[in-house]
């Protein structure tokens, strides 16, 4: 597979074109917004947290396929998780992408075993200028989680 085809895998295009959990939550929730000023990509997230568990999530945004697909996959990965689990997930994702230092958490023998669909975003690593696109939803999530605890 060429680097381009690896970057724009089917699953990424699918999430880009049909983003999951799109919209806004009604009623009480935690809201956070993220922006990449250099490229204009936007992402916002609403979280409904009950007893330390993310029970619902809704996102809005506009931007490139990488940022929007990353956000869509993220919603599927965090729903039903505790705040600690969501934070650990964000950390695992950032280590996979090389955004944070540390060993690559993925198991090369078992594709998808650690981060599921999100592992498709590894292809972005060959395009360093686009890593910040994949990271935008996760930075926004961290911001929301911080708010939930303050």
């Amino acid at each position: 597979m060429s680097a381009l085809d690896e970057l724009y895998r089917q699953v990424i295009l699918d999430h880009y074109r049909s983003p999951r959990h799109r919209g806004a939550l009604k009623g009480p929730h935690i809201h956070a917004e993220g922006l990449n000023p250099s490229c204009g990509d936007e992402f916002s997230i609403d979280l409904l947290i009950d007893d330390g568990v993310i029970v619902d999530v809704a996102t809005q945004g506009q931007g490139c396929s990488i940022s929007q697909a990353s956000g869509s996959m993220m919603t599927e990965a965090i729903i039903g998780r505790t705040l600690e689990e969501a934070r650990a997930l964000a950390d695992t994702f950032k280590r996979m992408m090389g955004i944070e230092e540390g060993e690559n958490p993925l198991d090369p023998e078992k594709p998808g075993a650690v981060l599921g669909d999100l592992e498709a975003l590894q292809g972005v690593k060959k395009f360093p200028v686009r890593i910040k696109c994949a990271d935008l939803p996760w930075t926004t999530l961290s911001d929301a989680l911080d708010r939930s605890e303050s």
């Binding site: 060429s2 970057l7 724009y8 490229c39 931007g63």
Partner: protein, 393 residues
Amino acid sequence: MNGHPLAYLDSAATTQKPIQVLDAVDDFYRTKNSNVHRGAYALSAEATDAYEGARAKVASFINAGGPDEVVFSRGATTSLNHIAYGWGLNRLSEGDRVVLTIMEHHANVVPWQLVARHTGIELVYLTLDDHYEVDLSGLADLLDERVKVIAFSGMSNVTGTLGPARTLVEAARSVGALVVVDGAQLVPHAPMDVQDLDADFLVFSGHKMLGPTGIGAMWGKPERLEEMEPAEGGGEMIADVGLYESRWAPVPHKFEAGTPPIAQAVGLGAAVDYLQKVGMEAVRDHEHEITGYALKRLADVPDLTVYGPTDPTHRGGAVSFSLADIHAHDIATVLDEHGIAVRAGHHCAKPLLRHLHVPATARASFYLYNTLDEVDRLIDGLLDARRVFGLDA
């Protein structure tokens, strides 16, 4: 680039530099390096001659009345800030209006907003019509004694739209308003005669016309430059400094505080020499040809929308487009893999993109060194973007 020869289609952002410009900068640093307008030794006199010689070249390039009408600055942005602060802040007051167009670069928007914050002036925008031309239908109603400045882009860096200079200069004269032309995208690409243009100010950047970064110019009518206050104070721009008051050096030096970008000015002089040798008519004609070819070929790419006028002889060589549901950054990434450099984003023209209802566009922009073959490669790259995104090529 990425295994392909580079097709550089981003000259609206900055241009590549000819060897003559690199050599001129290098030669200055090797043989003439010293400060200007102060050293009592031969080397400094040589540096001053080189710097002032560059000013004379730039003045001649735009057919100014003389070198003193040309102020060196860091670029078009700095020049516009000089005008907004040096002229606008001191001469505009609450209720006055500055007329801009919706296609302005942020550099011709934000400085006026800063002036508005201090003075309470009102900004009024001319919009674009369905053909991406500046909509002049409401201009007559807009014109009254409140209008003090009309500031507009000579050529849009997004749509390639030409600012309707004749009409706007006439309109400004009818109410005694000042005319400021942002020539950042115009001066590099077409012959310029400021006496014919008859504006009050024209600004442009060296790096968009084969010159170095960090150097640009502000041309002004002598009476405007005289009445304008300096926006920056410091060495070089003074005649005398007392404890509480100072007197300014004569124009143009009163606007050039501190050690100027000397080598960069010399490089800009070499760029101007280069462009004049090629001939600005030839530069313009080449761009008309290549832009026309690009528009024709882009029209054959399915689901592609060009945002800009369709007549290649009445527009600039900045061609913005979108392709199906593929985001501009994704287009740029695919093209980059083919060795093709284009810009993607809002192009520092957010009001225009909002007006066009697009969050971002991809933009190919051409200059004298681009070829028809590079346009063909752009088209092939766009067809590959369709394939990568699962659309029929």
